[in-house]
Amino acid sequence: MTRTLMEVQGIRKKFGGITAVDGVSFEVREGEILGIIGPNGCGKSTLFNCILGQLPPTEGRVMLDGDDVTGLRPSAMNRRGVSRTFQLLQVFPQLSVRENLVLAGQEHKGTMFTRLFGPRDAGLTPDANQMIDFFRLGHLAEEKAGGLSYGQQKLLDAAMAFMAGPRMVLLDEPAGGVNLTMLGHLEERLRAMNTERGATFVVIEHNMDFVMRLCTRVVVLAEGKKIAEGTPAEVRANQAVIDAYLGH
């Protein structure tokens, strides 16, 4: 039942002399919520970028459904049902919140050409409206995304990642700057998508409470290498993790 959805094999990424990710391997099982934690600068975001084709890995492979998808472009990955959020704010600042969401949903049906002749708001599924309500963005739907507050943009970014009904979402610090009440909602939402639709999540997060509550399994990186892997409780008790990351 818990099929392997994605397999990350020995990913290494060098920037000039710096090795940001140093041979990291792990697998993501279908329907799980996997946490990735590690100190600042240990290579988490870079790892995401390599998995999703935003950066070419120096070494290593990424397998999705058993196919080698290393080096596929992010758009292709996205159309295979893998979407993501970003650590730093990434929205379309001059577009309204609604347009941001419609855009996030439109590129998944048909080909580029059928879309040209299709309806303008093909991306505006019932989901979109639901998403707007869910993230409490209703009163901001017609505002330009660039004028939102930090936390609001963060939420919009997450909402965009969910728009196309992805099988798998990679979230890079979704909780940063999000109000705790809202974070509770987000958590519920992830869990709901996980149980109802079987969506898989990989979450980078520094908010340990969030990780502990949400994740079924956690991978710990330090200085580009994987130093631990296990259930949240196991990881939390691991001395190496405490030394490198959690502190006292």
Binding site: F15, S45, T46, N49, Q54, F86, Q87, L88, Q90
Partner: protein, 291 residues
């Protein structure tokens, strides 16, 4: 062989001129993210300030000083206050368009007010030639060459070594943050434009004896300077020198050994190749960002 040396030397001489114009261009980019399409005209105008002063009967040294002062005022202070300030925060493009209009304005004004003719421009350097490897090269060219190198070294040191220089760079990259760190953003931008104005004025005084003072002299010069700046590296002042000299030489070699009809094309191919394969330019450093 003699021909080849001739070509290289004269390419260097022309290249030094391009470099001189390109320096100010790079400087404006590096310290205020302004692309100045009127840079060629900026080099053309100071010569006319000098000529106008000479016509009033002033001696050359006074006229040069007056020219320099007027350039700093018009091409520095007025340019910055009237055009750049209101537009800077709206991004590169509207300001670039504005400088295009400015270039028309300067050209046409000089033409209407002064003359459409090329006027000879007195040189403050001695006439005459020096012999290099058996080829003649004018003192004028050598001076331009030396001056361009000195200007680059001085500016480079200023930007990299002094606190003011660093603040100017900071202002260019992110005026918002610069402001909240207490950088006097306005003053930094003003410095940039004053330095540029002084540079173009000096370039003008050096170049005009060769190029002649003419309202349209900035057209080719401006374009060549663009190309030189990009080829050398837009974000490095020393790139202007490399780009300028390379351009001068390539232009000459292309005309001699490839085609005169297409001589204008060869630097462009160089430009395209550089942009595509080394966008930061030969001397520039890459701009990388994480997402």
């Amino acid at each position: 062989m003699m021909n080849f040396i001739n070509l290289i030397l004269s390419g260097l001489a022309t290249g030094a001129i391009y470099a001189l114009v390109a320096i100010g261009f790079t400087l404006l980019w590096q310290t205020s993210q302004t692309i100045n399409f009127a840079q060629g005209e900026f080099v053309m105008v100071p010569a006319f300030f000098v000529l106008a002063t000479l016509n009033l009967g002033m001696p050359l040294p006074i006229a040069l000083l007056v020219g320099l002062a007027l350039s700093m005022l018009v091409l520095g202070v007025l340019f910055k206050n009237l055009l750049v300030d209101p537009m800077l925060r709206h991004g590169v493009l509207p300001l670039a368009i504005c400088t295009m209009a400015l270039s028309i304005f300067l050209k046409e004004t000089v033409k209407e007010v002064y003359s459409a003719e090329a006027s000879p421009f007195p040189s403050f350097l001695p006439e005459g030639n020096l012999i290099f490897f058996g080829a003649n090269i004018s003192i004028q060219s050598v001076s331009i060459f030396v001056f361009a190198i000195c200007a680059v070294l001085a500016l480079q040191a200023f930007l990299a070594r002094t606190s003011t220089g660093r603040q100017m760079q900071a202002t260019a990259q992110n005026p918002y943050v610069a402001k909240l760190l207490g950088v006097p953003v306005e003053r930094m931008i003003m410095y940039t434009f004053l330095i540029n104005a002084a540079l173009v004025a000096l370039a003008s005084f050096l170049i005009s004896p060769v190029y002649l003072a003419k309202f349209s002299a900035g057209e080719t010069l401006g374009l060549a300077a663009f190309i030189a700046a990009i080829v050398g590296g837009f974000n490095q002042i020393r790139g202007a020198i490399v780009g300028g000299l390379l351009l001068g030489i390539v232009d000459n070699l292309a005309a001699a050994y490839i085609s005169t009809q297409y001589r204008g094309a060869v630097p462009l191919f160089l430009l395209i190749a550089v942009i595509l394969f080394r966008p930061q330019g030969l001397m520039g450093r890459a701009e990388e960002r994480t997402v």
